[in-house]
C-alpha cells in the first residue's frame, strides 16, 4: 500500500479541520454549521487513522468508529432540532435564536 510520511496525513487533517472551523464561523445557516461540524469530526477521525496506521495498531480505527457513532447520534438529534427550529422560527438562521425565548 501507500507509504506516506505521517506528517502529511496529519497536515491534511489539520487543514480539513481548519476549513471546517472556518465554515462554522462564517455560516449562519444551521445546516451549514452542522456540516462544518461533520467536517471537523471527520478531520479528527482522519488524524486518528493516520496515527493508528503509523503504529500499525487497530486502536486508531476504533477511535474513528467512536467518532462515527457519535456523529451518527449527533446528527440524528441535531436534525430533529433543526426541524424544531424551523417550525419555531420559520428560518434556519441561528442568529434568530439569540434570545432564550425557546
Amino acid at each position: 500500500m501507500a507509504v506516506i510520511p505521517v506528517e502529511h496525513g496529519l497536515m491534511l487533517a489539520t487543514v480539513l479541520f481548519s476549513i471546517g472551523l472556518l465554515g462554522l464561523l462564517v455560516r449562519r445557516n444551521i445546516l451549514y454549521m452542522l456540516m462544518s461540524v461533520e467536517i471537523m469530526l471527520n478531520a479528527a477521525g482522519l488524524a486518528f487513522i493516520v496515527a493508528g496506521a503509523r503504529w500499525s495498531q487497530p486502536d486508531g480505527q476504533i477511535m474513528f468508529m467512536i467518532i462515527l457513532t457519535m456523529a451518527a447520534a449527533e446528527v440524528a438529534v441535531a436534525l430533529a432540532l433543526v426541524l424544531r427550529f424551523y417550525r419555531q422560527f420559520q428560518t434556519l438562521d441561528t442568529d434568530a435564536a439569540n434570545t432564550m425565548r425557546g
Binding site: L25, M33, N98, M100
Partner: protein
C-alpha cells in the same frame, strides 16, 4: 428524709409545668381548669417551700443549704455550668415570698381577670414568671441565675404589654424591656469579668475566691457592673424611669412583679454577692448613696401623682431605695427584712388598689375617687393597714420595724449621719404621700359609682396579707423591745451580721423617736392639706413644681432630649448606612462585571464558536511556546 430534699427541683418545676400545660393546651381547657392549674401549681410550690423552711429550722442541712445538681448544662473545656439549685436562708426568704405571695396573687387574679378574654394567656405568663423567679433565686451559679434574670425580664415585658391592643401599653413594655436591658448588659459584662478573673461562675466558689483575694480593682469594677444590673432591675436612679410606666400592666402583675418580687431581684443580687461589695467599699457606699437619692426623688414624685397605681409605683421605687440604702450601709439583714415586709404590704396595697379599680370600672385617677370608706369597708381597712405599714406607724406595723432597723443601722454605720437624715426625710415624705392617697380615695365625697363588689378570691388574699403586714414585724424586734431576732438570726447563716448591736439603747430610742415624729408629722400635714373636703382640689398639678414632680423629676424629658432624640437623629442620619456603602459599591461593582460578562452570552452561536477557537489558539500557543 432525703427524698423530700430531692424534691427541691419541683419548686420551680411546678409553675413551669403549669406554664407548659397552659401554653400548649390552654385553648382546650375550661377557665375553671385553667385557674386550678395555675393556682394549684404555685400553691403546691408554696407548700413545698414552707415544708423546706420548716425542715431548714428543725433539721438544718449540711452547710446551711439544701443543694441539688440537676444536670450538666454546658461543658466546654474548662468552662462548665451545671443546672444546680441551692437553697440557703437568703434564698429561702425569697422563695417564701415569691411562692406564698405569688400563690395569693394567683388566687386574687382568678377574680380580677375573670372577664378578660386572654385569661389563659395571663396565667401562662404568670406561671412562667414564678418559675423564672424561682430559678433566679435558687440558681447555684451566675449563668443559671442570669437565665432566671432574663426570664423574669421577659415575663415582665409580656405582662406589661398584656393588653397590647393599646399601643401605649406596648410602648411601656418596650420601654421597660429596653431600660432593664441596659442594666442587664452591665451585669453580663460583670459576669464575664468575674469568669475571666476567677475562672468560674459557681457562686459559692466565686465568693470563696473573692474572700481570699481581698481588695482588687477587678472586684471594684465587677461590683460596679453588678450594681448596674441591680439598679436596672430594681428601678433605682438613674434607671428608675421604666417602673412607673410598667403600671400599664394588669394590677396583679404590678403587685407581683413590679412590687413584691422581680424589682427586688437587684437587692437579692447585691445581697447574694455581698463579699464582692464588702471588698469594694467605694462601690458599697455608692449603693447607699443611690438608695438615698432614689428614695428621696421617688417619694417626692409620688406626692404629685394622680394615678393611684403610679403613686404606689413611685412608692415601690422609694422603698427599694431604702433597701439599697441598707445594703450600702452594710445592714444586709435589715435590707432583706425590709424586702420581706415591703413585699407583703406593697402587695396588699396593690391588690387593694386593684379592688378599687375594678369596683370603679377601671378608674385610676385618685381625684375621681373619694368617700369609699363606707362603701368598701373591707378594702378600706386592709388598705389602711397596708398604708400604715408603708408609712411605718410605730409598734403595730411591720414596716415600722424594718424601716427603723434600717435607719438605726445606717446611723451607726460609717459616714451614716447624712444618709440617716435623708432616710428620716424620706419617712416623712412617705407618710405624707401615703395619707394623701388615703384621704383622697376614702374620705370626702363620693365621685364615682361602684359597679362591683369584692369577691372572696380577692378578699381572702387581702385579709391574709393585712394580717401579715402587722404580724411579720414581730419576727424581728429591736434591742429596746426585747431584742427578738428571729429573722436576722435565720438569715445570718448566709449574710454577714450587723454592727449596730453595740450602740446604746438610749441612742436607739432617740432615733426611733425622731423617725416616729417624722411619720406623725407627715400624716398630720397630709390631713391638713387633703384631709378636709373643702381643700381638695385637682389644680395642684398645674403648678410648675407639681408638674415637675408629676413627670418624675423630668428624667424622661432628660433622657428623651439627651439620649433618645440624638440617637434617633443619628439613626435617621445613618439610614443610608455609610458603612454599608462600601459593600454596596463592592456588590454593584461585581454586578457590573457580571452583567458585562453576561452580555457575552449573546445567544449567537458563531460568537461562542469564535471564542472557543480563540481559546484554542491561545492555549496551543501557550503549550507550544511555553
Amino acid at each position: 428524709m432525703n427524698f423530700v430534699n430531692s424534691l427541691l427541683w419541683t419548686i420551680p418545676a411546678l409553675p413551669l409545668a403549669g406554664f407548659i400545660t397552659l401554653a400548649l393546651f390552654g385553648d382546650r381547657i375550661a377557665r375553671r381548669s385553667v385557674s386550678r392549674i395555675a393556682v394549684g401549681t404555685v400553691s403546691l410550690s408554696a407548700l413545698l417551700a414552707l415544708v423546706f423552711a420548716f425542715r431548714f429550722v428543725t433539721a438544718p442541712p449540711e452547710g446551711q443549704a439544701f443543694q441539688q445538681a440537676l444536670w450538666s448544662w454546658i461543658h466546654v473545656g474548662s468552662f462548665s455550668v451545671d443546672a444546680a439549685l441551692r437553697l440557703d436562708s437568703l434564698s429561702m426568704v425569697m422563695v417564701l415570698v415569691v411562692t406564698v405571695i405569688g400563690a395569693l396573687i394567683h388566687l386574687y387574679s382568678t377574680e380580677y381577670m375573670a372577664d378578660d378574654e386572654s385569661y389563659t394567656r395571663f396565667f401562662a405568663y404568670l406561671n412562667l414568671f414564678v418559675a423564672a423567679m424561682l430559678t433566679l433565686v435558687l440558681a447555684d451559679n451566675l449563668l443559671f441565675l442570669f437565665l432566671g434574670w432574663e426570664g423574669v425580664g421577659l415575663c415582665s415585658f409580656l405582662l406589661i404589654g398584656f393588653w397590647y391592643e393599646d399601643p401605649k401599653n406596648g410602648r411601656a413594655a418596650a420601654k421597660a424591656f429596653l431600660v432593664t436591658r441596659i442594666g442587664d448588659v452591665f451585669m453580663l459584662i460583670g459576669m464575664l469579668l468575674l469568669f475571666w478573673h476567677f475562672g468560674t461562675l459557681h457562686i459559692q466558689t466565686l465568693l470563696g475566691a473573692v474572700n481570699t483575694e481581698g481588695h482588687s480593682w477587678h472586684l471594684t469594677l465587677a461590683a460596679l457592673l453588678l450594681l448596674g444590673g441591680a439598679i436596672g432591675k430594681s428601678g433605682q436612679v438613674p434607671l428608675q424611669v421604666w417602673l412607673p410606666d410598667a403600671m400599664a400592666g394588669p394590677t396583679p402583675v404590678s403587685a407581683l412583679i413590679h412590687a413584691a418580687t422581680m424589682v427586688t431581684a437587684g437587692v437579692y443580687l447585691i445581697a447574694r454577692m455581698n463579699p464582692i461589695f464588702i471588698h469594694a467599699p467605694g462601690i458599697q457606699h455608692l449603693v447607699a448613696v443611690i438608695g438615698a437619692v432614689t428614695l428621696l426623688i421617688a417619694g417626692l414624685c409620688a406626692l404629685a401623682q394622680r394615678d393611684i397605681k403610679r403613686v404606689l409605683a413611685y412608692s415601690t421605687v422609694s422603698q427599694i431605695g431604702y433597701m439599697f440604702l441598707a445594703l450600702g450601709a452594710g445592714a444586709w439583714s435589715a435590707a432583706m427584712f425590709h424586702f420581706f415586709t415591703h413585699a407583703i404590704f406593697k402587695a396588699l396595697l396593690f391588690m387593694a388598689a386593684g379592688a378599687i379599680i375594678v369596683a370603679l370600672h377601671h378608674e385610676q385617677d385618685m381625684f375621681k375617687m373619694g368617700g369609699l370608706r363606707r362603701r368598701m369597708p373591707l378594702v378600706f381597712w386592709t388598705y389602711l393597714i397596708g398604708s400604715l405599714s408603708l408609712a411605718a406607724l410605730p409598734l403595730v406595723t411591720a414596716g415600722f420595724y424594718s424601716k427603723d432597723k434600717i435607719l438605726f443601722e445606717v446611723f451607726t454605720s460609717e459616714h451614716g449621719k447624712l444618709l440617716w437624715a435623708v432616710g428620716v426625710a424620706g419617712a416623712f415624705i412617705t407618710a405624707l404621700y401615703t395619707f394623701r392617697m388615703n384621704f383622697l380615695v376614702f374620705f370626702g365625697t363620693q365621685k364615682s359609682e361602684i359597679h362591683k363588689g369584692t369577691g372572696l378570691a380577692m378578699a381572702l388574699p387581702l385579709m391574709l396579707l393585712a394580717a401579715g403586714a402587722t404580724v411579720v414585724g414581730f419576727f424581728e424586734l429591736p434591742a429596746v423591745f426585747g431584742h427578738f431576732t428571729l429573722f436576722s438570726s435565720f438569715i445570718e447563716h448566709t449574710l454577714p451580721g450587723t454592727h449596730g448591736d453595740h450602740a446604746s439603747h438610749s441612742l436607739e430610742l432617740m432615733l426611733m423617736a425622731v423617725s416616729t415624729a417624722a411619720v406623725f408629722a407627715g400624716i398630720a400635714v397630709a390631713y391638713f392639706i387633703w384631709g378636709s373636703a373643702a381643700k381638695k382640689s385637682s389644680d395642684v398639678t398645674k403648678r410648675p413644681l407639681s408638674r415637675l414632680l408629676a413627670s418624675g423629676m423630668g428624667f424622661d424629658w432628660l433622657y428623651e432630649r439627651a439620649i433618645v432624640s440624638p440617637y434617633s437623629a443619628g439613626a435617621r442620619a445613618n439610614a443610608a448606612d455609610a458603612v454599608n456603602a462600601l459593600y454596596t459599591a463592592l456588590v454593584s461593582g461585581i454586578e457590573a462585571i457580571a452583567f458585562s460578562l453576561a452580555r457575552t452570552q449573546s445567544g449567537r452561536l458563531r460568537w461562542y464558536m469564535a471564542a472557543i477557537a480563540f481559546g484554542a489558539v491561545v492555549g496551543i500557543l501557550l503549550v507550544v511556546y511555553a
